[in-house]
Amino acid sequence: MANFYNDNKDLKFQFRHPLMNKIVDLKEQNYKDAGKFDYAPCVAYDAIDSYEKVMEILGEICADVIAVNAEEVDKKGPHHESGRVTYAPGTQQNQDVLIQAGLYGMSLPRQYGGLNFSMVPYVMAAELVARADAGFANIWGLQDCAETIHEYASEEIKNEFLPRINYGATCSMDLTEPDAGSDLQAVMLKASYNEKDGKWFLNGVKRFITNGDAEIKLVLARSEEGTTDGRGLSYFVYDKAWGGVQVRRIENKLGIKGSPTCELVFNNAPAKLVGERKLGLIKYVMSLMNGARLGVGAQSVGISEAAYREALKYAHERAQFGKPIIQFPAVYEMLAVIKAKLQSSRALLYETTRFVDVYKAYGFIAEGRKLTPEERTEAKQFQKLADMFTPILKLMSSEYSNQNAYDSLQIHGGSGFMKDYPIERIFRDARITTIYEGTSQLQVVAAQRYVTNGSYLAQIREYEKIEVKPEYEQLKKILSEMTDQYQKAVEKVIEGDNEFIDFHARRLVEMAAHIIMSYLLLSDAQSDDSYAMSAEIYIGKSKSWNDERYSYIKDFSACQLNPFLSIKGENVDEA
């Protein structure tokens, strides 16, 4: 039987990472649940064994159910009628099977019926589902909402909503509005408190809401009348059973067609406040956004994996000029680079996830007792690493998933352009990853400060300390030189004004990301030689990519911005 977990040794490799035991120890807090819940682990090994076995369950479902349904789900899509949305039959089947398998609420504590899994297996699950069907990955992935409720809502709300998520209650995060996309501070949906009922009511419109007809919604709304910025926004939880929300339409999209994207009308919809007023955007959404970006990272890696496998299969099967096309340099180079980009983005995905795991676990421990000063320092350090790595993960993995889908389709030639092969769907599905949950351009904005304040450089210098086997010394030397080059590029750019820095920011962020991802592959190659191939290819390519960026920056003077600025004066009528 096919199994998306068992057929991928990169995934098993993650569970053998040295940090894994520590993550589990923290997550299980001295295995306090072992006596209370009959499915709780008693030692780290036990927990990791369970992670693996549960990944096997999911891997089988992904291969035998979700991937099989993907084509039909893409074709049929969800159905919209009288204000409600019905999933495509395949989507509903995916959902039903995953509920039976108990794969909702994976990261929630056991007291709410969750599995209390750490982030590594949770993110891996997201990757597996995305490889099977990237659109469905959104519906499954919105169980992330449970995380936000768990972290910030009152005990009453937690008890009311969290157990339902384990039984597969669907979720949505309602943030975007027609005039508030990247700029969420502009959210207008109104939340008003009715003293008489002692209740909040929501009125307004939301747009582009993934899975908008969900049973449980988290809604960002303006609770402070007369305000115009992010500080007037609060976060609410809404239950579909309370009524008052209609789906006005669903979008007709390029990709991820199985996932309904809804325009919603809130008409006196009752809701409950999550956490504190005014912290909606500035605290809760920001935190949720980091989780969502990790999710898109996982989705992107899943898409890259699917694309790579389709291309590899086709390149072996398709013969031209008397031999399989994989024999031609033009094709095998593309395939090898696809694999290197896939493996480097996966390395970055799990590195980031481990950082998130450690600091989040400390956060939960802190609810029960005071952290020691050492623990506090460590938690802070890991939180900073997670914040630093999340934007480059989102940026690089989503861009690579698009590049990989593009090249994989190219390997299919004319057949790839037809609906006959899955690569056509994968190519369309990949496209959204660089856009939603913050465009690539916004990831650069988020990452930029770690370029200018030297944080990436400091972390790269940390990686530089890894011991490598003699045969890898040469690669390490290249990386060290690339780091010096990066440092010089940063120094040059930050001499300029803000406009100049913004202009070059993406180049610098990408240079840092290439070096970091190279080190991660190099480090993996130390424990498993099979990563040597991708490490070597990726480092070689990275060097040339960084040389190109450096060469552009090195001689770039402020006045060279002018021709770019002149584009602002152009308009469509006289272009």
Partner: protein
């Protein structure tokens, strides 16, 4: 209060006969299980799903797996536990070895007598023998009604169980008393997946024999939890006449197993021309294939 039922699923661990090699049979004519990967017999999975659906419909009902085989057949019971069964019993005894369908159904029926279930559900047949005899023989020995080729157990009404059967030319709905033996056809719904919590809850479930030579679980504290013990029953536990068990109770002797490769017959190319189609139709009519 709704009615609850005690349901036994007869399940078999079978060699995966999709890849039969040369060493598939032992010299005594029985299947060489060591040479083939062991799997949960597919139609028994359909049977398990029917049992679990009954349990869903009649909460409080109990689903037990009953399997006969060597020690490693405990895996079948764990698979059932992971999917929602409440427990299982492994019938294992050297004296059961070499059993054909008659001796097997004798052993199963003796165990069923001891368990006293309301409903016994089995797959129609196992992929290693394809006999479809065990279910019906168990029913005969216990003198229970039997319903074969079941596709859906519709429910229980006024003490009678209603079952939809898949027949060659249609569907038949029957009603019968309990206890009853039902054999389930492959067209019945596929079994639900393993459940994450159930898996974590029962992954350490094992028989006493497994406990004794268990190395990989050495990190575990010694479990005394009852629900993690998979009971093993031998001849002494279920009683009966020893001569009816194992080889001595088995009149069937397998003479030989052959791997048959189907040869393609001569082929003939027919174009879409009027003439060719006409000739083909005439040929088919004269050979009475059509008309």
């Amino acid at each position: 209060m709704t009615k609850t039922f005690k349901i036994v699923v007869l399940a078999k661990q079978v060699p995966d006969t999709r890849n039969v090699g040369k060493n598939a049979m032992k010299e005594d004519g029985t299947v060489n299980r060591a040479a083939l990967p062991a799997i949960f017999n597919p139609e028994d999975m359909n049977a398990l799903e029917q049992a679990l659906r009954l349990k869903d419909a009649y909460p409080g009902s109990e689903v037990l797996l009953l399997t006969m085989g060597p020690g490693r057949a405990a895996e079948i019971i764990r698979e059932g536990l992971f999917r929602g069964a409440d427990g299982g019993i492994l019938l294992t005894d050297r004296k059961f070895a070499g059993a054909d369908t008659l001796a097997t159904s004798y052993a199963l029926s003796m165990a069923v007598k001891k368990i006293q279930p309301d409903i016994i559900i089995a797959g129609r047949q196992a992929i290693d023998g394809d006999t479809a005899q065990v279910g019906p023989q168990v029913a005969e020995k216990l003198n229970y009604p039997q319903v074969t080729y079941a596709e859906d157990i519709v429910g229980v009404k006024e003490g009678k169980i209603i079952i939809k059967r898949r027949l060659e030319r249609g569907i038949e709905v029957v009603k019968t008393s309990m206890p009853v033996v039902i054999t389930v056809h492959a067209t019945a719904p596929a079994c639900r997946p393993r459940n994450a919590k159930q898996l974590m809850r029962f992954k350490h479930a094992r028989t006493k024999s497994e406990e004794q030579d268990n190395e990989h679980n050495s990190y575990l504290p010694t479990y005394t939890l009852d629900y993690l013990v998979i009971p093993e029953w031998g001849v002494n536990d279920i009683g009966g006449d020893e001569a009816n068990y194992g080889l001595s109770g088995s009149p069937t002797k397998v003479k030989k197993i052959e791997n048959i490769v189907f040869q393609a017959k001569e082929s003939k190319r027919i174009t879409s021309s009027e003439e060719d189609v006409d000739t083909l139709i005439k040929e088919l009519i004269s050979s009475h294939t059509i008309g």
